[in-house]
């Protein structure tokens, strides 16, 4: 399939200059692309700007989906305001994205939904490795397992969480598999040998 010599070029994506064929690593990648966002305006950003000021530096829209980026310590107050004053009463998801080359290594993403407005929004923040964000379980009970999964997969501990244990992996497992520095083949060989009596590794 890589032999296809007339790739359709989409607007917004630069065409690869030449059909160079080194399969795995591109030697000189294009200048780092960024998300082509447009500003998100309306009463909700206005309300948040008025309440939180520069703690919420970014309100953006990408592909028609609204999101905001806030300072980590403002996350729980924002979730609270959104839930009790703006009708975002359903916490859909909590997850993280790892960018190991960045100083603030993780993106923490909360997806919220409002039944009244019929709208999904995302609340995002950037945190460093070792930073303990406050738990959202006091605002949304459903955050409990979602935050446990983030802890399990990324090693982000939530301060004040009632039950901060691993959820999918065994409790004495070493390592956080969804971090980018963990290879897909990496596993806790010691645990496997000890508990399963077989040689670990693949």
């Amino acid at each position: 399939m890589p032999e296809d010599d007339k790739p359709e070029v989409k607007p917004g994506q630069a065409a690869p200059p030449a059909a160079a064929k080194p399969p795995a690593a591109k030697p000189a990648p294009k200048p780092p692309a960024v998300m082509a966002v447009s500003p998100w305006e309306g009463e909700l950003p206005a309300l948040l700007k008025q309440r939180f000021g520069d703690q919420v530096p970014e309100f953006s829209t990408y592909l028609g989906q609204n999101f905001l980026v806030a300072k980590p310590e403002a996350i729980v107050p924002i979730l609270e305001l959104l839930r009790f004053e703006a009708d975002f009463e359903y916490l859909v998801d909590v997850t993280a994205v790892d960018y190991p080359q960045r100083a603030e290594r993780f993106d923490l993403v909360y997806v919220l939904y409002s039944f009244g407005r019929n709208q999904h929004i995302r609340v995002k923040t950037q945190i460093a490795d070792g930073y303990k964000p406050a738990t959202a379980t006091r605002v949304h009970r459903g955050a409990n397992w979602l935050e446990r999964e983030v802890f399990d997969m990324f090693g982000i501990e939530f301060a004040g969480h009632p039950d901060m244990r691993r959820i999918l992996l065994p409790e004495d497992w070493e390592g956080y598999p969804l971090r980018k520095d963990k290879s897909i083949l990496a596993c806790d060989n010691k645990w496997i040998e000890e508990h399963l009596g077989i040689e670990g590794g693949q």
Partner: protein
Amino acid sequence: MPDQTFLDSTELVLNMGPQHPSTHGVLRVVLKLDGEKVLGADCVIGYLHRGVEKIGENRTYQQFAPYVDRMDYCAAVSNGLGYCLAVEKLLNAEAPPRAQAVRVVLTELNRVASHLIWLGTHALDIGAITPLFYVMREREEILNIFEKYCGARLTTHAFRIGGLQYETYDGLEADVKAACDHVLPKIDEYERLLTGNRIWVGRLTNVGVLNAADCKQYGVTGPMLRAAGVKWDLRKAQPYSGYQQYDFEIPTGTHGDTFDRYLVRMEEMRQSVRIIRQAVERIPEGPIMAKIPKVIKPPVGEAYVSIEAPKGELGYFIVSDGSAQPYRLRVRPPSFVNLQALDQMTRGALVADVVAIIGTLDIVLGEVDR
């Protein structure tokens, strides 16, 4: 589990699962009991964890598509639809009308099949063995259509990013109509067996009540939310794949107990048949694939796309860094989130009710653990 529910002198810890026929797979529940009464339930999950999200980061967009079928294997077509829609969103592409109509037909057939499995196993857990054999017979009709269409019965991989994996076969319309004609009267037959049955009603009424406020607190969606009286369905709220063209109702309950959830799911099957009949009548002519590059490299960005899977809101959050592999691929599984409410639903119930409550949650452990 909070300590205040323990009555230390009479408390008994009972381990249920992971190898237990009524836990629908490898779910382990640690129950704290006061005699027959449940004080709390702690779920131990992860026995089927395969690292689907990590696999997603290490495969190209097309290569990952078959993996999503292995999460909720009772509703593989829905999983595939959600994933394809999410990648299409990142590409800013849309499947052509013909593909959309076929997608709706297959997805709704799959919803019926998934609900049939739920009905059979739920009834079996409660002691009604007969429905299991009946639902398997009806499900067979649906799986035969999948097999004829794509060769697979369970993990179908029916859709491609941008459209369909295959053109439909000659006679798909007739087969689908025949399956609808076959299934619809059978749903009435199940209802005659169960809905007025004194044992069935007695075992389900006021068991595992979860009201609308609690559902929203826990993020519980799908038939469980609708049984609590919230008329919310993503097919209506945020229509995708052309659902806005079809007439159908959103069934709701009032009490949010196990019996209401049973009624809601039964009615959902009828509504699905209604959608299928409309969709199959008007499958338009035309291409089955949108113009999608051979190597999919979405522009740098992220998107969260969710659909109404048989179990609830199934979401995909994909971050693209412009390469051929997703930078991060998160699955928001309805079973995982719904299972979290088990603790609250079982409090104060009897041990025998726990089995009914696990059944009414309609979880698939492949999706809980991923």
